[in-house]
Amino acid sequence: MSEAVIHEEHHDDHDHKPTGIGRWLFSTNHKDIGTMYLVFALVMFFIGGAMALVIRAELFQPGLQYVDPVFFNSMTTVHALVMIFGVVMPAGVGLANWLIPMMIGSPDMALPRLNNMSFWILPFAFALLLSTMFMEGGAPNGGWTMYPPLTLQLGNAFPFLIFAVHFLGISSIMGAINIIATVFNMRAPGMTFMRLPLFVWTWIITAFLLIASLPVLAGAVTMMLTDKFFGTSFFSAAGGGDPVMFQHVFWFFGHPEVYILILPAFGIVSQIIPTFARKPLFGYESMVYATASIAFLSFFVWAHHMFTVGMPLAGELFFMYATMSIAVPTGVKIFNWVATMWRGSMTFETPMLFSLAFVILFSIGGFSGLMLGITPADFQYHDTYFVVAHFHYVLVTGAVFALFAGTYYWLPKWTGHMYDETLGKWHFWLSTISVNVLFFPQHFLGLAGMPRRIPDYSVQFADFNMISSIGGFAFGFSQLLFLYVVIKCVRGGSKVSDQVWEGAHGLEWTLPSPPPFHSFTTPPQVTDATAHS
């Protein structure tokens, strides 16, 4: 695909590009690795999505129709692991790989071989995880949160789950190290930190979150491994351990993880809205500080995921106040995006549509998040469909919508072809309508008393579950359209200019479309006038 139009000054690059399968297996090129990450994420998106459809099919009506409860629990567990570690995280790293060198004016990532390894660990990690589907006793079914003692009851799949998590962690940590090394060392002359595009900023902060939180997860699951096989009792009350300690350690990872998933999405949207509003991002500095504050605070709120375990009053109050405080920097970001649109000159191409939907629907997820942070009310909301609705609003209409937006926004740059705008808009409208039919009724289900992670429910919940399932199938099948649009765009289409979008600013838009194999072989000079616009 990158054979198309290559500008005069980049002629030499032809000679250095490997060909065939070796180009991908041994790749040290940030664009090829970025492409592999994105393709991998897309494949996993459909695998995880198929699992979600099994869940929604079973929940279409009360009674058990298709799957037994153990398989149902495996579906909820593996769906979550696939979507978090196989879709949103790799897609975020894929975008970082493609874009960070182009945005900061460097030829490639700082550590290309590490880059290759961090990608190629992923398929093996998921082979381990997904192979458990075919094992006696079934795939992991204790929830993606892997709480003991329940997860310790898992059969043959248990060590596979633990080692898959270890591998995924190693892969992400290496990716994070690479991103930090790249941004700290490879910026073009004049590209100061406060001139970095916001996408780069959100990724540096995300990378630090990854490095700080993933070893904690690795520790927690390793303790569980020794509890199972080597006779320790970290989490067994009978042996003097504490099952709640796992939850504390897990969520000390788990809450920063939430921001690992969403901060790059903030970055994507912060690139797109100024482009289509034709107006600079409002409050750049406050956006950077808000992102950093959110990341910092994310280490002090973990126990809001476990208000019902029975903490002392002081603990509950502390975690309630800390959680509520995160609404402040998050609000600042929303207000800045709205202020960026204000008195702009807006057009509504597909990336902008997804970004606007992101701002509204992520806010709704934020609102329900604030409600969940109110501890006494959480005693009712906790572990119900209200929580399911909340985190799908922030992760699907938040993170995944931003990934769609980013894909439409940069796909013409990557391929040199414009995607099919009509089909893109169809994809947007089908997705946005169906995703709300899918998740909005789940708020009502949760408030009315339906617990999460149940394969069957009493008849009073039947109507909203049916609506939700209809939305689920519509959303799922709408994504085939996305696949088609992407493939069509990669294969051909009308040629685009270097700048692609009228309002686009930043170094990546000064490169040819598609960009040369090595991004900037001579570093560009960055000034205040070329940054921040």
């Binding site: 009851q153 099952p243 600042v332 009310a377 009315a448």
Partner: protein, 380 residues
């Protein structure tokens, strides 16, 4: 029936968004949290409504500004982009205003939380223990304890491919064989703990849920102000039948409660006495069949076939289907092994004798063994 339902749902989908933003509460559709029947549940409901209104108003303001901008500041209407990109005043304002709103929310939330933690001075204490997948209730002041499991009609209907319409079952999945009975207007202290994995005891009408954790005891309280039957479910994923361990609380006047306690004690004394006599095979088989469905079928399945790789088959098993296996069979029931719980602490001698007799003479197992309560007593 199915298509009518589908049509209702599609109609409902059209109206539900407007319903939410209007703050309307439609009981039939189960749109909102219950105000419940305790002082605490009312406070929690009020907090929920307050924060819901606050975020709804903020949402309407922010999204209105955004949509105003989307409609008016569009290129197709000839809008020319302004150049401004910074305002310290705006940044400070939209930091401070949310902080003030949050402080306003934190004050009532803190008050309610402090109230919820006042578990002292209880009139009655009930210890609730979660098991995979049933609840045990111990009335600590009364020397009374019993298990509560999913009602048999729900249990039959919820099997994969049962072809029983859930709508035809009384309170499908929310009914139990033995509800917990509590007096109204008394402060009841409810302790939660668990025997195997983590569960969570949740009756929405009481206004809270609390995890039941092995090795830990959490305390909670409720004063039920209104007579009635209140239903809930386990709220923490606890394995295969997490969705099938409901909770039913019956709140009754104090004299009815006292009478119920006496009846329960009488019934338990009778059950204990029945362990002293000789049982006929038919009696044991009938009782065993019933107990098997309640206690064993969740894992070993209705036909004793088990779940490969997780729960062993009992049909044709060397322990269950051969004469030599009998001592091991009794030992498994009494003391458990791996995931098999120790039923010695859950069931009486007569119950265990009945289950063992049933298992040894069902699904093609034909040992002909008749195990008496005294055999179990001797093996304890």
């Amino acid at each position: 029936m199915f298509f009518n339902k589908l049509r209702n749902c599609l109609l409902g989908a059209g109206t539900m968004f407007s319903l939410l933003w209007a703050g309307a509460v439609n009981a039939e559709w189960g749109l909102n949290m219950t105000p419940g029947v305790t002082p605490v549940s009312q406070d929690v409901y009020d907090l929920h409504m307050l924060i819901l209104y606050v975020v709804t108003v903020i949402g309407i303001i922010v999204f209105s500004i955004m949509f105003w901008s989307i409609f008016h500041h569009r290129k197709s209407k000839g809008a020319v982009a302004a150049k401004f990109h910074h305002s310290t005043f705006a940044e400070i304002a939209w930091t401070i205003v949310p902080v003030l709103i949050l402080v306003g929310m934190a004050v009532p939330a803190t008050k309610t939380l402090i109230k919820m933690e006042q578990t002292g001075d209880a009139d009655i204490t009930v210890k609730i223990t979660g098991y995979q997948w049933k609840w045990k209730y111990d009335y600590l002041n009364e020397d009374l304890s019993f298990f509560s499991v999913l009602a048999q009609d729900s249990n039959e209907a919820r099997q994969l491919g049962s072809n029983i319409d859930p709508a035809s079952v009384d309170h499908y999945l929310l009914n139990v064989d033995q509800p917990i009975v509590l007096p109204v207007n008394k402060k009841v202290r409810l302790l939660t703990t668990a025997n195997d994995v983590i569960h969570a005891w949740w009756v929405p009408a009481l206004g809270w849920k609390r995890d039941a954790i092995p090795g830990f005891i959490n305390d909670n309280w409720a004063i039920i102000e209104k007579e009635g039957t209140y239903r809930g479910q386990c709220a923490e994923l606890c394995g295969k039948d997490h969705g099938f361990m409901p909770i039913v609380v019956k709140a009754v006047p104090e004299d009815e409660y006292e009478a119920w306690i006496e009846d329960m004690k009488l019934a338990q004394a009778e059950a204990a006495a029945s362990g002293e006599r000789e049982w006929s095979k038919d009696e044991l088989m009938a009782k065993g069949k019933d107990l098997y469905a309640k206690n064993c079928a969740a894992c070993h399945m209705a036909e004793g076939q088990g779940v490969p790789g997780m729960f062993p088959s009992l049909a044709g098993s060397p322990i269950v289907a051969t004469a030599e296996g009998l001592p091991d069979h009794i030992d498994r029931l009494l003391n458990g092994k791996n995931l098999m719980p120790a039923f010695g602490e859950q069931l009486s001698d007569a119950d265990i004798a009945a289950v063992i007799t049933f298992e040894r003479n069902a699904w093609g197992n034909d040992t002909g063994d008749v195990v008496q309560p005294k055999d179990i007593k001797a093996a304890r």
